[in-house]
Symmetry: C2
Subunit: 338 residues, 2 copies
DNA sequence: GATTTTTTTGGCAGCGCTGCCAATTTGTAG
DNA sequence: CTACAAATTGGCAGCGCTGCCAAAAAAATC
């Protein structure tokens, strides 16, 4: 479209091809290919001549061509809801370490928790013929599911276990997390419990935690007294704001937050307002962020295996493991805020 | 290598090709290609027939083949030091939003602050013939620089401005950040200033901040009294630990931290130890994390344009802008801790 | 030294798509 | 109805590499 003159200036694709290397080394193309991939047999002398030519010409193999010619791409596609929610960078971190070791490449796109966008991005990803597509959770549009099933590529659904997996699932039960959080608060004797969360229609895993949290409290005869759902993303500020609003409407002795960052916001709100924790108000979070342990009173929360989720998912793909659901569990941290 | 029997079970690459679509629609291959890319001319009737065939067969274009056949790949490669340091997810977030809008794909690898690994990963990235490679800062091995220059693909160096760019640079001056941090502390009257940081040989941008911080204090005749460098990554725990060690060795009235997370660790250490802030000890961070504003005394720090760095970098690539250095600046937040 | 076996090697047909060009169809003007 | 321009369309040669197969060279055996 624009600046074709500029384009000229900055594009000099140093197109050294395998054929040129072969020529320079005085060997056949397939020999170069074998040496470079260290696959098949060739003599040490040949190897040296090829490597010398590669070095001399500054040859960089073209994976695009290589992938097209062979099959299976060593690309792993991540279609994640967000990069602001620490969960996803953590998962990527775990996965990328394993993938890099095995010479796979990670590709990603961010759906912003929008299922429609997820479908579009998943389609775009499939066009790269990845070895696997990794998504968050089980809630996808029908189109997405159909497309993934038809694609023939491996699918890994991450961070959830409450639902039917398309292929592989790695994570833990969000329902169990919600349930155990509620049970913990009940054990501690709290009875007037509230909830502060971010948009649940979009973050369906948070939604599952909340709903099983509610069910557990209902069963105990002490349902959630009040809840405050904030439209924006999970954040410290929203946690603070949410708690402020909630306390303006209801008298509570404990609050469950959809995430640690929100819980921290709530915690700081209490500090600022002189609300003593946990005697006046208990706070319980979710995720087990490091910073939760560093505050004056360690945050009571559930620690999730985020990095491990990425690692395991990547390992299963690398090993071409059969369909399965891997439960990594979570750990309830009693902390000092509840 | 392993499980070829398993392999059979899970690979049914639904290989519907463009040729099959053409066949089914009763048109030529190039026509299908034109319709799908909405490029060139074709009649409305043809369009419908093609789309119907695409729908019916569940055709997913193969970008690998498309990229090989055309030129330029609409892939943007990120070679970043870490995903734990919030800086990089933020940059990716900004960039990926812009890239997705323009139908580019983000690919990434994590170097773990290791220049050797950076070189290897950059080489692997170039094999995908990306439209651009984005790296952190200017400090690369000679091999990396040579390879990037020879590659002919655009290069963007992020988050630094103190050095010579290979092509495009987007960020701000870390030296200026260090200098202004020091100047601020001096203006506030602090004279016995210490530093707590993470591994500086590896995070060269943090190294630059520290060195210009030191120079500024030296020039004022009040050099850094003591510093504590922790081997691990920047983290809340390390900040706490670093400050504890530092205070055991020196009497200080202010401490500069290499990052906000470390500064927060220091802040909480003070809270726990009853050290009053800022009267007994001032704390100054770097990055401007949200949580720094939520704690009882807002953290004094420098806010960096992380998301914007990613956005601008992506925009320049999408627009195929000429080589340039874009200074996004930073903002000193006075806060209440210094 | 001849023969068999094993190791190396090169040739070449695709992988699925795009870009170019020529051919065909359609539209328009004379 | 003819001539000419414009809009559509199809054919096909690659893009750079890998995989297969047969040929050549080297090593082992008798």
């Amino acid at each position: 479209m624009s600046g074709s003159k500029l384009t000229m200036e900055f594009k000099h694709q140093a197109t050294v091809t395998l054929a040129e290397v072969a020529e320079a080394a005085g060997v056949g193309e397939s020999t170069v290919s074998r040496v470079l991939r260290n696959h098949g047999s060739f003599s040490g002398k040949t190897r040296e001549r090829v490597m010398a030519a590669v070095e001399r010409l500054g040859y960089v193999p073209n994976r695009i061509a290589g992938t097209l010619a062979s099959t299976g791409s060593r690309l792993v596609a991540f279609v994640i809801p967000s990069l602001s929610n620490i969960v996803f960078p953590d998962v990527l971190r775990g996965a990328s370490a394993v993938l890099e070791e095995n010479r796979y490449q990670a590709v990603f796109s961010v759906t912003d928790y929008d299922p429609g966008k997820e479908e579009a991005l998943a389609a775009a990803m499939l066009a790269w013929r990845p070895a696997a597509v990794m998504l968050a959770g089980f809630e996808h549009t029908e189109g997405t599911a159909k497309m993934l099933r038809a694609s023939g590529c491996r699918v890994v659904e991450l961070l959830d276990l409450d639902g039917d997996a398309l292929d592989i699932a790695v994570g833990f039960s969000n329902r169990a997390a919600g349930r155990e959080s509620a049970a913990f608060l009940l054990r501690r004797g709290y009875r007037r419990i509230g909830y502060v969360g971010h948009d649940l229609n979009r973050d369906t895993r948070a939604g599952k935690r909340f709903s099983s949290f509610c069910e557990t409290l209902d069963a105990a005869g002490t349902p959630v007294v009040a809840h405050e759902i904030l439209a924006g993303p999970s954040s410290v500020d929203n946690g603070r704001l949410g708690l402020e609003r909630l306390l303006a409407r209801a008298t509570l002795d404990a609050v469950y937050f959809s995430n640690d960052d929100m819980a921290l916001g709530g915690y700081f709100h209490c500090l600022a307002q002189g609300i003593s924790i946990p005697s006046q108000l208990a706070i319980f979070g979710y995720n087990g962020l490091d910073i939760g342990r560093a505050i004056p009173q360690p945050l009571s929360t559930i620690r999730t295996p985020r990095v491990a989720t990425g690692e395991i998912a990547a390992q299963l793909i690398v090993a071409n493991a059969p369909p399965q659901a891997v439960d990594l569990g979570f750990e309830l941290i009693e902390g000092a805020t509840a």
